[in-house]
Amino acid sequence: MKKGYIAERLLYTLIIAWGVMTATFVILRIGPGSPADRYIANLGAGHNVTQVTAAIETRYGLDKPLYEQYFEYMGSLLRGDWGWSFSTSMPVIELIKTHWVYSFQLILLSSIFAIVLGILIGIYSAVRKGTKADYIATFFSFIGISTPNFWLGIMLILIFSVRLGWFQTYYDTGLSTFSLANLKALVLPVVTLGTGMVAGYSRYVRSSMLENLRRDFVRTARAKGLPEHVVIVKHVFRNALLPVVTIFMWDMSAIVFGGAYLTEVIFGIPGLGRISFNAIFADDYAVVVAVTLIGAFVTLLFNLVTDIAYTQLDPRIKYD
């Protein structure tokens, strides 16, 4: 029964993945900004425009009928040929391979930061509902949600790097990944990206905790004479966690990746967001497309993993 569920989710994921690739193709081909046009605009005068256009069109297969283009496109994507990056003179895949680590470490650390703090604050506010601490936490979560994360990053740099000198203003790429120096360099970026997340998570956790605090099994746990912290953590929180996991899952795609993009740009972290940004100004469209696709695929993968993990958390689902 559980295997059936996993298989179903896997199939669904593949279907959506196909949908994602097709949607991207549609965006690329339907519309005035054809890649050839842009490349030509870049080359500037001095070349015979019509000749160059024809050459490019043949090279990119743009002279072929649309459905053929589609199959070629799908084919190369699946083969791992995601195009060539003009501005860096390497296959797009290579570019991604060398830069994904930076995005990964940023997002991972920010998520850990946000989840831990979000849970702690959420539980505390729920248990201390109506007290000053709760109001302060709610107030700060409003602030946190409303602060544009790119502005927060700049403000943090202004205060902590420029004025106080505690941190560098720009990320040093020479640092080895598992060093303390690297960790220190990531403090401001992680706080930037994580703050908005903490604000959101603490609210979700709080509201889920409040709902579960009212449930009957809490009364049973107390009637058994269990210490309050056991009641809150082992009984209430375990139940409150379930819906929060789902929200966390969708948040990734809606907010986190976009936030990471901007954070990378501001701090100069050479992750996928940054290389996409660079590519925009070099008009290296293949890179921009690739980063978008990766964002979607990672989201899919992440959702799949979270979905399956969810079945572990909620015993009622396993046997449906």
Binding site: I27, T147, W151, S253, S276, Y285, A296
Partner: protein, 300 residues
Amino acid sequence: MIIEKHHREKIKKNKPAVLGLLFIILLFVTAILGPFLTRDPNEINFNDKNLPPVGFSIEQSMYNIKTQELEVTERKGSWEHPLGTDDRGRDMLAMLVSGARVSLEVGFLATGIAILIGTFIGVVSAYFGGWLDNALMRFTDVIMTFPFFLLLVLIVYMYGPNMVFVILAIGLTGWTGAARLVRSEVLSLRTLDFVTASKALGASDPHIILRHLVPNTMSSIIVIATLSIPGVILAEAALSFIGLGDPALVSWGKVLNAGQDSLVTTWWVAVEPGMILFLTVLAFNFLGDGLRDALDPKSE
């Protein structure tokens, strides 16, 4: 009326919401009247460059060609440029006012488009059910799978950083949340008696949808719309920040970008646009939250 009297009473009690509404109205007025009262934001005046805001003074070192020395002068802010100037002498206040207009336009138009699409898809999906519901929801899933900002960047990059395209792009990518919410609302309404009664009386589907279902979901739609506006404004600001905004327009994001470059010398160029962005987003969030509390049938 969509927002009935007792709802209005409830909202009035919510201080942050009222403050938010006042701020938004103020912003509106500023956006409309402001350009007539302030300088031209594009006016470049190198003499006045890098002026701090009123009340602040800053030491700047400038190289004097004649004496071939680095002169340290103290420059004070003045009421001529109450919020200071940027490195080309453009008046900050004028730029922010201009940006307000951009943000509000994009905010309302793009949200309007997104809500329209989302409501349409949500209602149709929930009402007709079956394979149509399935197909539409799968389509929604595909769009939702793309990280919102990345998709935006791709579209605006592909089609050109033009105000119209930005609005369209945001509208065409940001409807998914609304679609889901409207769909679940309609699903619960659909089974109610008045729908069955209407059908028994021979009402056609569009009639039921427009006359019955949509009005009943109106309050939710208003809440969703108000809470979507901040995200849209931030999206536009983010796009301008990374350079994908309309180059002919002054946007808060664009100014903020310039501010980061000159953070050490002219910090106000970074602080001011961000601050106003923050306050605007906060205002809409307070208002939206207040509306949601007031219109939520559960709390009645």
